[in-house]
Symmetry: D2
């Protein structure tokens, strides 16, 4: 059995954010290699990104149609493609690659219309292809633990659900417009041509829907919503009453104008035997309150987490998963310094920002002083 794969990417040139996230995430476990791409409609940027990733120039394509067709004809064609282009192109590109026989991973939202989405589901099924959509937040270890706890009956029958996703990055747009003769700042996300019928609900509200469904399996039967546009074309805030197929209710709120909330995805699920609460800004912890007992703070990777999903953690308990990034930041500077030194150049202060042998020496001195003091009736010792 094969143990690694190759993949292609549509979008994700060197200056784009999310494409790089996909590459780093795939690189994390080292089981798939980037082998082809159509990274930008700008030929220069496309070529340059291909070079950065040392991709055979013959596999850096001018457009996605050429890519789908040419790759499909190769014996060593990529095993899957990743689509990180603007939302209004997701459907067309996904469809093309499915038709050409490729497994697809597409950024959310999947597409603009229900018909398009149903078509993609059906096409993937017909072709027996894998089609992944990157609702990232379901990937956190503690979300998986929560889901397993709920499935195992830890909170009994679900009674009600609260979900919210609050951000504040579009508050300036609303605040400026609200002023006397206020200006009309706007960003692409607020433009129907790029975002379709919805801005806030489409971009972040859909995560609430997905997260609740992921955690509980519940499907929404009907809903009533208020949305607020504050003078702009698309929604910037929404409150939603939902009724699930089993007759219970929930309340959802999403907003891009909630001052102080940067990425506040939070979900709280209440059942007959307890409750579970999780928020993305503190993803390594779960609040769990069994009925009539004290609230417990479950910490990722702790020994007391008996759920299988607990094994999803990548670092020991108490270490946030950003630990890897801290490590990477140190290596970024070490590598930059070595490169500068090799080139006979002076590293900057910033590049020299890593801990060195001198720091190791200080540490050894500290340890020795502590043990020496303790060994001498805790008297003071000079370092």
């Amino acid at each position: 059995m094969k143990t690694s794969l190759t993949y292609g990417m549509i979008g994700g040139h060197n200056r784009a954010f999310i494409g790089d996230v996909h590459r780093k995430a795939i690189g994390f476990d080292g089981r798939a290699t980037l082998a082809a791409g159509c990274f930008s409609t700008n030929p220069e940027l496309n070529r340059e990104t291909g070079e950065t990733w040392r991709i055979d120039p013959a596999r850096v394509y001018p457009d996605f149609k050429t890519m789908a067709k040419t790759e499909a004809a190769r014996a060593d064609k990529v095993d899957f493609v990743v689509i990180t282009t603007p939302n209004n192109t997701h459907y067309e590109i996904s469809k093309a690659f499915l038709e050409a026989g490729f497994n697809v991973v597409c950024e959310k939202p999947l597409c603009f219309t229900i018909e398009q989405a149903e078509d993609l589901v059906k096409t993937a099924e017909d072709k027996k292809l894998v089609f992944g959509v990157t609702y990232t937040y379901t990937g956190y270890a503690m979300v998986k633990v929560a889901r397993e706890m709920i499935a195992n009956g830890k909170i009994g029958q679900i009674l009600t659900i609260n979900a919210e996703y609050a951000q504040d990055w579009l508050l300036d747009q609303v605040a400026e417009k609200a002023k006397e003769g206020g200006s009309n700042l706007s960003v692409w996300r607020m433009d129907p041509a790029v975002s379709g019928i919805s801005n806030c609900t489409g971009d972040i509200g859909s995560h609430m829907e997905n997260m609740v469904h992921y955690l509980t399996g519940l499907k929404i039967k009907r809903l009533a919503a208020t949305v607020n546009r504050y003078g702009h074309e698309l929604d910037l805030n929404a409150n939603i009453l939902v009724e699930y197929e089993n007759g219970i209710n929930g309340g959802y709120w999403c907003s891009q104008v909630a001052s102080g909330h940067k990425n506040g995805l939070a979900v709280r699920i209440f059942g007959t035997e307890g409750s579970i609460e999780w928020e993305e800004e503190s993803p390594d912890y779960l609040k769990y309150t069994p009925r009539n007992e004290a609230t417990r703070i479950l910490s990722r990777s702790s020994g007391y987490i008996s759920e299988k999903a607990g094994a999803t953690g990548r670092v020991p308990a108490g270490h946030p998963e950003g630990y890897y990034i801290a490590f990477a930041n140190n290596y970024r500077n070490i590598i930059s310094t070595i490169l500068k030194v090799k080139a006979g150049q002076e590293p900057t202060d910033n590049e020299l920002d890593f801990q060195k042998a001198e720091d190791g020496l200080n540490g050894v001195k500290f340890i020795h002083a502590v043990i020496k003091s303790a060994g001498n009736d805790s008297e003071w010792v000079e370092i």
Copy 2:
């Protein structure tokens, strides 16, 4: 100028934890490639790890001395080596590679004796080689922001410092021994042969010393310490009074028996014009209290962070840096599923745990229902 490097690794075979962390962290920015190694003294494991990383078998060495000598003689020798072997071998291996002309990155603690540490500092200086020590925690973006704020006078002259590092992973060892006829559980970290003169202070206490020094530049002049061994050979808890060279004082505490604390590195620095507080279990936030003002919670990557170090963040504000891991977890399952499908096997439920086109379809339906309800005076709509 070169834009990428190669590196070798000593230790870090396929079943070791920290070696893999180093590889993933280096891989994160994709600017260095693993090209040589001596991953284990077990030949089979050594060979197997080399294969996993597709390393030229000629560059998978049986022992570190051979590696240093052979690599040094190659025209394409590695640019730096990473040492992730047990603590009692750090000095010898570091010394050998420095002597052979290699830049070195070594896990902490650097070595056992002050003389060894001083020798490594001097050797690296004499040879003009880079020598990095991986005190990981200084790599967090908000630690760097804190350091810059302190350097810029945001908290004025420092008045006092509190640092602590509390864990509970060795509490079982103490609790069992404390019982009547209690058993003597022990782990390698508690063994002087492996850990030297100190367990707790050496392993985690040294991080407090390093972190305070990193943030403030202060050096400890003298200290008095109590350590508690609870019947074991090495320290499991330490309280330390410190006096810095400028005459001010601080209080440090480290423990491996503090029930409920998983990796509680926390530092609080108080000055004439304000204070800064940071804890590793919530690394994306900083508490900052200017004198006579309300406490502010600074969130990584927020627009209001004017310090240059703020640019160290890798994801938008509100997203914990573990976001990359959530992404990676999703891809792990997607890739496993594709591999299984290609091999004609059935993916497990766990491997199928990623969001699919159907989930994308649910999202599109949800968005449409919200906007339809809002467009119809917020009446209820079926999904």
Copy 3:
């Protein structure tokens, strides 16, 4: 001008909870004295409560009608009455005392029907009498600070509001009923005969409505609600979409079945220039996030609170207002001990639970040892 008042109480016998809260709260500032009452329909309990409060037996009345009539005829009649009887009697009693010319303070909910409520409002107006309703939570200092900040434009124009009030004290009732052949536990609050048309919304939901109105002045124009009864007669959970008169929206949630939430009244108000968040379980703090700035944690009675309402605080910053209760608990034991000693009895361990001269001595020894050590180069000193 008079500087103190007398009051009468209807309900609030010695074994009732809320009546005692009223008496203690009135007693706090010592400006009104209990002088008459009809504490219980049980004559014995009525008499006994009168004695406890040293009330002239002639002013301990058998029923509220007699009380209203007799007091009204006295020259020294009480200045106001406090009504703490069950909800289904509020209207009748309030009406009787208003008609008799008394100022009234009534527990919430004011009454059962809109007509009754309108009648009380009109009667009080016509008679030019004061009519207070004890929505207690608006009395917190930081609620008043928040209200003043909002009135002063600190958060600009309001964009959206979230309010919730979550408890879990009726979860057992729902959990037991949900079981196979589950039993039908019930409490008076769930009985329509006592609570009227609503349990959860009436008891706690009404606080959300009142708190938002108090803080912002906004009035609700229309609403849509789902309520959940989980097989019981009255609501135990409600989700509500609201539209205020100015066209903006809010989302409210109240519940008595939310495991882990004891008294979670929380309100978050988002405006063009910032947001304010407050929760009753941590009443001495306010989260305030000016647009594009870091979140501030405002602490009651701090010097930086410039709003006049800040003066409402009764203890210094950092001291929770429960400080008074801690103090009272100490005195409770001291007084019990003195009473026992005077009676020649042995105080219990619980009664002796207060700090004594010996503890004061220990404190003095501690202080002396600290200063002595510090004066001797921080050497160790015996206590």
Copy 4:
């Protein structure tokens, strides 16, 4: 057996803070009445305070010696006295009242010298009098619960203790002095003539000592301390290593210059079977982590608190004890309004700040609208 007492007060005139706290705390349970006093050395203020509390003018004394002598001679002499005068007078006054046969409650610190303290302990013992010292913080319900849990073995054998008490109210004094040609702000607490040998340790450090002793019963055997005076006469910051009689260690820190900390008394106790953590700024909660289990947040007055001390709570779970103050604030305004109305004056906006019948009406409308919407398939209803 007597069921109530009378007391006298030395200090605590109408403009003093802590005297009023004592009176309110004693008044809370209504079992002792203020009957005599020497409230101020200022005759006018003394007289005026006596009037406010309706004390027989013959029992408002010009000095404490006259008071002790005269009261002692009365048949109806007070049952105890409360001393709230400046620290430097505690000894003399306490001694005088003990000698005259009175039970005494004295503010902390008890006195200045160890000899004085020992003398008071002995005198009270000899005379068989009750002598209480108001270390207030031991009066919190959750402190008592913690103490009982520790006594019951819930955390096993104690391994180490951390205590701290951080404030920032004297930071200005230090910050101003630290400036070039900085001025020398000072407050009475920093003056040796009033505070004795210590400021910070005496005022707040002594609470740490007392709280740890109260919770655990441990006595300090020896200690080593650093104190910082920052150019002033008395200590403003102290770090202390302690060794208890049983050989274990703890670390204490107290400070009045810790920006952002208003009244941060916090204590953490770690044992072989778990840990308990409590902080005064959030007094209604306790963190409890049994060995190898998740941290639990215990909430005051919750049903799951089985310790007897849990009964000390005065309000239901989830309600902070400041609930009484919120209630009292409402009554303050209601009473002020009634007084103004009776005097034919216009109440101020501030006095009118309480909830009225109109608010009760709004509440009733809200409840009706919610139930009506729910009864009509959750359609929108106008209020």
